[in-house]
Symmetry: C2
Subunit: 314 residues, 2 copies
Amino acid sequence: MPSPSESSFIGIELSGSKLSGATVDSNGQIEKRAETSVNGGGLVAQIAAMVADLKAGDENIGGVGIAIPGLVNRQSDRVIASSFLPSTVSNNLHADLTEATGLRVELENDANAAAYGEYVVGAGRGSRDMFYITIGQGIGGAIVLDGKLWTGSSGFAGEVGHITIDTEGAECLCGNRGCLETVASAPNIVRRANERLNRDSTSSLSRLALNKDFTADDMAREATEGDDFALMMLERTGKYIGTGVASVINLLNIERIVLGGGVMQAREIILNPVIQEAKRRAFQPCFEATEIMAASLGPDAATIGAALLARDAS
Amino acid sequence: MPSPSESSFIGIELSGSKLSGATVDSNGQIEKRAETSVNGGGLVAQIAAMVADLKAGDENIGGVGIAIPGLVNRQSDRVIASSFLPSTVSNNLHADLTEATGLRVELENDANAAAYGEYVVGAGRGSRDMFYITIGQGIGGAIVLDGKLWTGSSGFAGEVGHITIDTEGAECLCGNRGCLETVASAPNIVRRANERLNRDSTSSLSRLALNKDFTADDMAREATEGDDFALMMLERTGKYIGTGVASVINLLNIERIVLGGGVMQAREIILNPVIQEAKRRAFQPCFEATEIMAASLGPDAATIGAALLARDAS
């Protein structure tokens, strides 16, 4: 059996509609990619086929890591809850994948996997402790302490999207009110922008007013191109995120905070107000002990992280 | 030199106006107590005198732990900031105390020391990971992970009183707006009660309306004796604290949360709404993985914890 440093590892990310996979060398570099749509049929068979495809011609695959949108308990290798997976699939996912792939399998929550990727080979590199925040369809997070994912007593730590920033705020899908996610996730940025466009005639100068079905990605692009309304909306979003970041800083006095996910395509347009608001709200000595930066692995973070979790599993 | 299990340790808590000390055996039981007012003169000399007093007749004192209201960096043994200590005292506190007492000295933030005491011999006993919240003049907190205080990259982790629960809330002493502390610390509970008494004539039936200078302790006592207004105000306070607790649960998925400090003298009157609100706001699987309970060491927590930190310092 080859040593881990000679082996490669497969990482696969399951999102709502697709599987993205890659072979990753022991230094976290992608060697080969694969992508397919989830066809609604046998998910286990689709993952096994992708593993076989990625493995073809490479005898030194040391294991496979799968990043899943849902709550995963790694002690028990159980998927506890996932809105994307029917329980008939999730209940036996680890055992079924181990059998179907013939490899050691690690399951992990997608935000945790992405955090681990950023920590080892991305924007978290060189820090001891890191908090990762991913801002996309939802807002997720994960904690790395002293080189290891710190996932809490049952594997769910890091849910920064559901800390309350406004006691009487809007209802969240999670049942709470005023979660960070209710104002700063991609769909909620779009909702806030549409509400503003509907009630404020000056914002009709925005190019976004010409497009009935704009997305958060469209807003990021328009903001980058100088659209004042899109800029203002994203700056406000950054302030909300900064409020959550300040709470993370005060609670954890953490060395580094890395922000990833699709919304971070707007880069400095979001990052600068995040940093400003965190500075305004956090304890000064805690703020000064924290570096806040944008993620560097882009959409590969979870795939790379899942492969590295397979590398580092004991 | 006797082994730690035969030694006793001295714990001393410095609060604004007094020094409370105790000799604590290696099992965390108090053997002997001392208390004195801080006289504004030499703090180091006063602490050394208390240590000498507690040490008298006991040859087996293994070290002394000092709990301080302020930010302490234990890696460097430095007091970084304390509103109670002039910098002329705090800058050399560790070296001066080591010299003056002739013992190994551990300095720690008071909430961290109290958390450690509760973790080892109080309400945290038996848990692996614990979050401690102390509600008194301010709201502090501390994190114990896997048996050790987790104090963050520079020693300041756990500042749950300064997480934002209301983006546009009242200004806090820390410079932020809408911190948990702005509604739920002892002085702010009294402030909210006075505001309500001034504007709402029905509340004038409360016995608190007869006392111009009531304290949070008075409110806790009246609530315990059935005063409807005091009960309502403390229940609301519990809800605010529960909002912060829910954020801690979602961020850390922590096994146990222990609530201490003077305001918890009202026990279930506060604790029950804390638990209800945390249940309402936190992710269900995270909430179900958490035990929320009242501290059990009362005002001795920081003294005992400081002594145990001296016991366990390597």
